[in-house]
Amino acid sequence: MFGKPSRTGRTLQYVALTGYLIFLGFPLVWLLSTAFKPPRELVQLHPTLIPSNPTVQNFVQAFTEQQLGRAALNSLQVSLASAVLTVLVALPASYALARFRTKLGTVALGWVLLSQLFPFVLLIIPIFLILRQVGLANTHAGLVLIYVVWALPFALWMLQGFVRNIPRELEEAASVDGASRLQVLRRVVFPLLAPGIVATALFSFISAWNEFFFALVLVKTPELATLPVALARFVGIEGTARLGPLAAGSLLATLPSLIFFAVMQRRLSSGSLAGAVKG
């Protein structure tokens, strides 16, 4: 693998890499191109890869006619609330998990792994019944609640890792200097934890923003639908000319997580976050 490959070997490697680039890249190019095509080019018999008269009309239309704007606002609301709540709830627990070894912590992390096995359909019916009982079915609050619970295990795992990276000695030094436990947390731990808090908040924001199944089942009122659900309903509307706004809306729906991944890209490709998926 690491020896000098022959010239044919190298050529083969580049051929393979090109193959991968085409497989991974062309569908993305097609989405971009469709999003900027005017209706006339969308319905023409033989579509082109690059739009000849690019337009932003599809973006305008996606927001005005298809009410994706409202769905995007709904998604923004739900995702922001989930992110803030997840961090607030996970913060104390992750501190406890990192600083004290308790059986409960092990049980909680074991649960994270176990729960991966179970299909959503087992969870969704009881959750639906519980939310209906407390009057939260078909509300954003109910959805936020589910997203927080769903993001919590991974958020806990992530945050406690960040807490562990803060040297214990710093806290000890502060308390030797006479700081109370609360002061130590506020002055020493939280400032150092800021990157971890941001990362955790981003993670739960993105998982709420992208989530589809719970949003589909739990929210029935069309006005309350989140962006993925609104887009999925939009797919049902036939007509080739509609593909433009659909592609435009899809692009916008991808933006937040694309930004997130761009920020995390270096860490992702270097593999230091690879453990994340094993959680």
Binding site: L24, W30, P47, G105, V148, V277
Partner: protein
């Protein structure tokens, strides 16, 4: 209260483990409570209740009496042709996607682990599908497969192979393979990143030593690289399999189970049973069967891998 009692972690760091005072334990539980309570109420409890529902005749609607029916749901499942059909499709989908994902991701990871040009571009591209919401991935590929305005059919037209043009997602014979390809595309990035991390952990010295001994590239891959990344491979393929078997949103958007149930994954089938026909008990029973099958298949797979390792 003494300082030691307030900071038991410090005391424990260098001394032998000592019993924690009651107030400490209370404090820890108070810190954990805000996280554990929601998890128990909205994750553990629903799951247990969901498993139980699989043994009842629960149906949609308010104030419906639920009675325990034992194995009646499972007897019905055994004779349900639609279920068996969906189960077969689910297995084809999960195994197909997982295997292809792994093979393609391993190839890409090996390439990205070399000093090639365009490696940076490939690394970025390899992650983008991961960043997309499953619904958007579905829409994206619907555009590619579109019978009139799609990229794929247009490509076949341009290369003069008009005979290959077809309604990919609407045709009985092409729908499932087309959907599997999308599954591979969507899940490959994550697998690639994990495998790449595994490859970067393989000690270079091992390769050099093997090369000095005259081992060919293939032999070095087979006898040095593969054993070194085996734990990563087992972990990611197991997870991929679970995720694929339980996947929903992608195929829901692409085909919604059609044409004629050709892509009706078990999750879609269960969703329809539960929320279109209101058969909660039956859908939960289906979920239970899926868990048992996943666990059984994973057990067989992991046991074989373990035996190979020894």
């Amino acid at each position: 209260m003494t300082t030691v009692a307030e900071r038991p972690d410090v005391a424990r760091a260098d001394g032998p483990r000592r019993a924690r005072s009651r107030s400490d334990r209370l404090g820890i539980y108070l810190l954990l409570l805000p996280s554990l309570l929601p998890i128990v109420v909205l994750s553990v409890f629903p799951l247990v209740r969901g498993i139980y529902l699989g043994f009842t005749d629960a149906r949609a609607g308010r104030n419906v009496e639920i009675s325990f029916t034992g194995l009646a749901n499972y007897r019905e499942l055994l004779g349900d042709e639609l279920f068996w059909n969906s189960f077969k499709i689910g297995l084809l989908w999960a195994v197909g996607v997982t295997v292809l994902q792994f093979v393609l991701a391993l190839g890409l990871a090996l390439l990205l682990n070399q000093r090639l040009r365009f490696r940076g571009v490939a690394r970025v591209l390899a992650v983008v599908p991961w960043a997309m919401p499953p619904v958007v991935v579905g829409i994206l590929w619907k555009l590619v497969y579109h019978p009139d305005a799609g990229l794929l059919n247009e490509f076949f037209h341009r290369v003069g192979a008009d005979g290959l043009r077809t309604n990919w997602l609407g045709d009985f014979s092409t729908a499932l393979p087309a959907v599997i390809l999308v599954g591979v595309w969507a899940g490959m990035p994550q697998t690639t990143v994990v495998l790449l991390a595994g490859l970067q952990g393989v000690p270079r010295e091992l390769h050099e030593a093997a090369a000095v001994d005259g081992a060919s590239t293939w032999h070095r891959f087979r006898n040095v690289t593969l054993p070194a990344i085996a734990p990563v491979v087992v972990a990611i393929t197991s997870l991929d399999f679970i995720w694929n078997f339980n996947s929903f949103g992608l195929v829901y958007v692409l085909t919604a189970g059609g044409p004629g149930g050709k892509t009706m994954l078990p999750m879609l089938f269960a969703y329809e049973e539960a929320f279109r026909y209101g058969n909660y008990g039956y859908a939960a029973a289906l979920g239970n069967v899926m868990v048992v099958i996943i666990v059984a298949l994973l057990a067989v797979y992991l046991r074989r891998r373990l035996r190979e390792a020894n």
